[in-house]
């Protein structure tokens, strides 16, 4: 098993190298001289310019620049933001918990509603409920989530005043240290009355928005895999034994029906990140997605470069973990890859 994991890890190395190459090339292609961007409009003496170039390593041949870039990445140096002068890595991991918190909540929302909804649809196949759910699922799957977010803000937050419009917590009422970066945990740790519920309130709308597409996918997936499982012999046996329908479906069928659903959850990490970019932008949620978009607006290319690199690296590793875990859950496919 250990060897298997090691082998899979080794297989990601070429991908990482190619990823470095991609981000390296991309930033070279940006029109405009990075040095000129840095010094601004005023202009500086040629000597100072040459010094800047040397500092950034731009006087080296391109292959040397790439090797340096890759070596820095390997050592964990993802560059320094032009705008804030902070290490990109530090900035990224300060904001990352917010994104993880949002994505985790969204996935929880999607699973908690999607799995029961899909199961009921499968059991009551062809019913009014089934058809409505599948219709809703196509709609959810096709949802432009940036619009969905605005719509929810308009109705739930503005018109009915049920939730806040943006942010993670009411900073005027509550103030405490970000010990873990996860607002729900920090607000509990702070011991301030109401802080936790305020954080939950802030989380509801972004969670629904980011969870909508996975919810639709999971409901659909659960339904079809449940339908398949329900026609299996062992389900018939369980029924024939006289087990209650609840036990047959909830215990025997659902466990096996969930295997493909787990894969879908694992594979949607990437699309969750993409969705997080939009959701965070709409709700001013201070995570890495919003930061990435803002760094484009500020022409902060090291931040963009490092951000893309880090997000992709995390996704590659998570996908790998999902693959390995999947082998643990379902021994039939182990050691195939």
């Amino acid at each position: 098993m250990f060897l298997y994991i090691l082998k899979r890890l080794a297989l990601t190395v070429p991908t990482f190298i190619a990823l470095m190459f991609l981000t390296f090339i991309a930033i070279r292609l940006v029109p405009g001289d990075p040095v000129e961007v840095r010094v601004g409009e005023r202009g500086i003496s040629p000597e100072r310019l040459a010094q800047f170039r040397a500092e950034l390593g731009l006087d080296q041949p391109v292959w040397k620049q790439f090797i340096d870039y890759a070596w820095n990445l390997v050592r964990g140096d993802f560059g320094t933001s032009i705008v804030t002068n902070e290490k990109v890595l530090t900035e990224f991991f300060t904001l990352f918990p917010a994104t993880v918190e949002l994505a985790f909540a969204a996935m929880l929302f999607a699973v908690c509603i999607g799995v029961p909804a899909g199961t009921i649809a499968a059991v009551k196949r062809g019913s009014w409920y089934d058809q409505t759910l599948m219709g809703l699922s196509v709609t959810g799957f096709s949802m432009p989530i940036f619009w969905w977010g605005l719509l929810l803000i308009m109705l739930v937050a503005e018109r009915w005043g049920l939730t806040p419009v943006s942010g993670r917590v009411d900073l005027i009422k509550y103030f405490y240290d970000a010990k873990t970066g996860f607002m729900l945990i920090d607000s509990l740790l702070s011991g301030q009355k109401g802080a936790f519920w305020d954080a939950v309130h802030h989380l509801i709308l972004p969670m629904i928005v980011l969870g909508t597409v996975p919810l639709a996918t999971i409901a659909r997936m659960t339904r079809s895999s449940m339908l398949e499982v329900l026609s299996e012999d062992y389900v018939r046996t369980a029924r024939a034994k006289g087990l209650s329908p609840f036990r047959v479906i909830g215990l025997h069928a659902l466990r096996n029906a969930l295997i493909p659903v787990v894969t879908v959850i694992g594979l949607s990490v990437g699309s969750m990140m993409a969705g997080a970019v939009l959701t965070e932008t709409i709700f001013s949620w201070p995570g890495v997605g919003k930061w990435l978009i803002e760094s484009i607006g500020r022409r902060d290319y090291p931040a963009l470069q490092g951000g893309v690199m880090l997000i992709s690296a995390i996704i590659i590793l998570v996908n790998l973990a999902v693959d390995v875990l999947y082998g643990v859950i379902n021994p039939r496919i182990r050691h195939d890859g």
Partner: protein, 301 residues
Amino acid sequence: MTAETASTASAVPAAPSPLRQLWASFSENKGAVGGLAVLSLIALVALFAELVAPHSPLEQFREAVKAPPVWEDGGTWKFVLGTDGLGRDMLSRLIYGARVSLFIGLTVMCVSFVLGVVLGLTAAFSSTLVDTLITRTMDLLMAVPGLVLAILIVAVLGPSLTNTIVAVTVVFLPRYVRLVRASAMAELSKDYVTAARVIGVSKLRLMFITVLPNCLAPLIVQSALGVSEAILEAAALGFLGLGAQPPVPEWGAMLADAREFIRSNPWIVTLPGLAILVTVVSINLMGDGLRDALDPKMQRS
């Protein structure tokens, strides 16, 4: 003699053409037919935008800024769906926006289809080295989440309609390449390919005429669904300000402009998103129907 031929002909009905068969199973799916109908309507409106749209999408009616739609208080038939923050007619902008979105969706589909077929078949038919090179490149593009990759590309090339198309194509290309490669690989081991090889068919003919038609079914489904995804992706870029630039009436960019009117003029926010949703839902319904009709193995569950 003629009577005899006629009687045999009527006794053994000719096999229905593949297209007719396809339509027969496609039309069983009500959702798919509905999707096709709505999509055709949108396509027609987009095609004849000049005739259908009541105003120019760019003309600013200074006297009627943020006019409400006709069913609200103060709405007029002059601006059926109201006007936006600059006094431009919403209905006309939505109609021209359909043209922009469908254009993006179809261009992305065509380019990825052609490139996907060429690269996928090349990978399947080439030496291990070329194959590895192509597959690895596609794996890499798939490792970066779609929208993030598109954002990176647009950030590098600069935001515009053309670059949106380039970015979204790059994002979706790997799926086509993988699909073509995988189906071609599956076909390669079959007897008819061996037979064609034995009689000395040239490689190009083998690739495009012998094997390709047998890989088309999943590819067509992927293309249909790919159009809707491309439209969504392009709208998302537009919304982030990285897609089509103002004053192009692109639905995503219209939504971004409308954000400031969330409180005061909800319809300016509601309409463009509704247009995106309806278009994407109808394409997806149609794609689902196409999948069921084309591939009995992937049955609707």
